[in-house]
Amino acid sequence: MSGYFKDIYDGIATAMVGMKITWGHLFTKSVTIQYPDVKHDIPERVRNRLYVNMDDCIGCDQCAKVCPVNCITIETAKSLPTEDLGETSTGNKKKLWVTKFDIDIGKCCYCGLCVFPCPTYCIFMTDVFEFSEYKREDLIYKFATLTEEEAAEKTANAVRQKQEQEEKKKAALEAKKKAEEESKAAEKQKPETGENEGADQKAPTT
């Protein structure tokens, strides 16, 4: 019987305790952050959207090589000897035109491995985390600064330059070969003639 009254007392008392707690929370400052208007402070070293500072990119392709999911695609073209591409902020000489630098952020796993090998510190992760798109294609970020025509031109230049160089090389090689052959031929000529002479000489003897 005493248990019965104790249960009733406990029931009322604990309900009161609960009500006191909720009453206190009624006037507690809310923890809600009005997200699109107000945002959380983001930690210093967060890994979010990748960004490439193309002024500093030397097109070394190291980031693309290290990427575990192959989301970086880089295409480069050699510059002509007459073109000066300038230097990066770290003092490296730029020798390549970067005709294509695509990052498919939809594939990116935010591991940050591409950041460390970069010799000029031009690829890094920013604190931008709101970049949803309606189309998957829009998630492929094109960082190359050259227009398509320019890129095509630079590629053509590089190809032509290569061809010219190859032709030159070929020509040089051929010239060398010719010269060698000639000199060889000249060298050969002597013993041949000697032989011939010998033969000639021999001939009458036989």
Partner: protein, 369 residues
């Protein structure tokens, strides 16, 4: 109030309809407030902000909710009993609204000043059970049926202690008329029944003299307990947490209104909120002085503006009702749901013995004193 309307519109059907529709206007306005109150209070109690986008601080959220409900498709399940399925929500709201007929909003406005007001309240309150059972069974859905069965078992059980609480007050005042019960509590706050009833003689509107003196203080502990117990049974009768096992969204989807959508769901929703205000108002009427001002006097009387007095009475009444609605919401976000056996234990083994004991003691005291 009726005479006022008659002086404007004449004695015709329109006057009557308008007179009957006044509580409906009040209920709809109150419901907009209660929907907002529910979401905001729940949010604040959980250290959130609640809706903030619709209007400044989300204050037009209830209007957005209503617009959404109006646009929703009205679905009747293929295997449901169509007639009963469609009838149930309206019956449910009708039961809630019909009870407002005897609720005195002020000394000048009561839909029907019945001499059997308290009895009518009990009788019409049971109609909601029929609506719940109808909805649950006609839905042809196991969750709905379980919810309805639980709801009926719960409401029928809790009607016993609720009726006993009403009987206690009726024994004390000696009248079933709710206006009589309120007028008996007129005067300052200590004349409310929860504080032991009037301390001086009162002339009731029915013409009967209610004799009282300071000796009524002996009733205080009994009426205090009765008020708390009535409030608990009222919570159970409106299916609100911690007694929301008929709805029990975590186990029964949402109980008897699982299959309802659009405006039919809205009718159940309105009926629940109207019932919430009804039981709060009845708590206020029976124990907390109804439309009486706690100061015993009105600003209208002090400045001698007679038309202000009923307005003030209405405001006091609405304030008391809304306060108890707030407590219902407060309890909802505090207490977890009871188990079915705990619910029945509480009703049959705690509330009913105590209510009978109090009724016996009060009856004895009324005879002796």
């Amino acid at each position: 109030m009726e005479s006022l309307l008659q002086s404007f519109l004449g004695d015709n059907l329109l006057t009557l309809v308008l007179y009957c529709a006044l509580p409906l206007v009040f209920i709809i306005l109150y419901e907009l407030l209660a929907i907002l109150g529910e979401v905001k209070i729940s949010a604040f109690m959980q250290d959130r902000l609640g809706p903030m986008r619709t209007g400044p601080y989300g204050i037009i959220q209830p209007i957005a909710d209503v617009l959404k409900l109006i646009q929703k498709e009205d679905i009747t399940p293929k295997n449901a009993d169509k007639f009963l399925f469609n009838l149930a929500p309206y019956l449910s709201f009708m039961a809630a609204y019909a009870a407002f007929a005897v609720v005195p909003f002020s000394s000048q406005y009561v839909g029907a000043n019945l001499n059997l007001g308290a009895f009518y309240l009990l009788a019409i309150g049971s109609l909601n059970v029929a609506a719940i059972m109808m909805a649950g069974w006609a839905s042809n859905n196991k969750y709905s049926l379980y919810g309805a069965m639980r709801g009926v078992a719960q409401i029928v059980s809790y009607e016993v202690p609720a009726a006993m609480m009403l009987v206690i007050v009726v024994i004390f005042v000696g009248s079933l008329n709710l206006q009589d019960i309120i007028v008996a509590q007129s005067g300052p706050i200590w004349n409310w029944i929860v504080f032991g009833g009037p301390k001086a003689d009162v002339m009731l509107p029915s013409g009967q003299l209610f004799e009282a003196s300071w000796i009524n203080l002996v009733y205080l502990p009994f009426f205090l307990a009765a008020a708390v117990m009535y409030y608990i049974t009222a919570l159970a009768e409106t299916n609100r947490t911690p007694f929301d096992i008929p709805e029990a969204e975590s186990e029964l989807v949402s109980g008897y209104h699982t299959e309802y959508s659009g405006m039919k769901f809205a009718m159940f929703f309105m009926s629940e909120y109207a019932n919430m205000f009804l039981v709060s108002a009845v708590t206020a009427i029976l124990f907390f002085g109804g439309w009486n001002s706690p100061f015993g006097t009105y600003v209208g009387e002090l400045v001698n503006v007679q038309w202000l007095v009923p307005v003030e009475q209405f405001l006091w009444f609405a304030f008391k009702g809304l306060f108890f609605v707030f407590v219902i919401i407060w309890l909802r976000w505090t207490l977890p749901r009871l188990r079915v056996d705990q619910l029945m234990y509480m009703c049959w083994k705690v509330l009913i013995p105590f209510s009978f004991a109090i009724a016996l003691i009060v009856g004895f005291l009324v005879v002796v004193l």
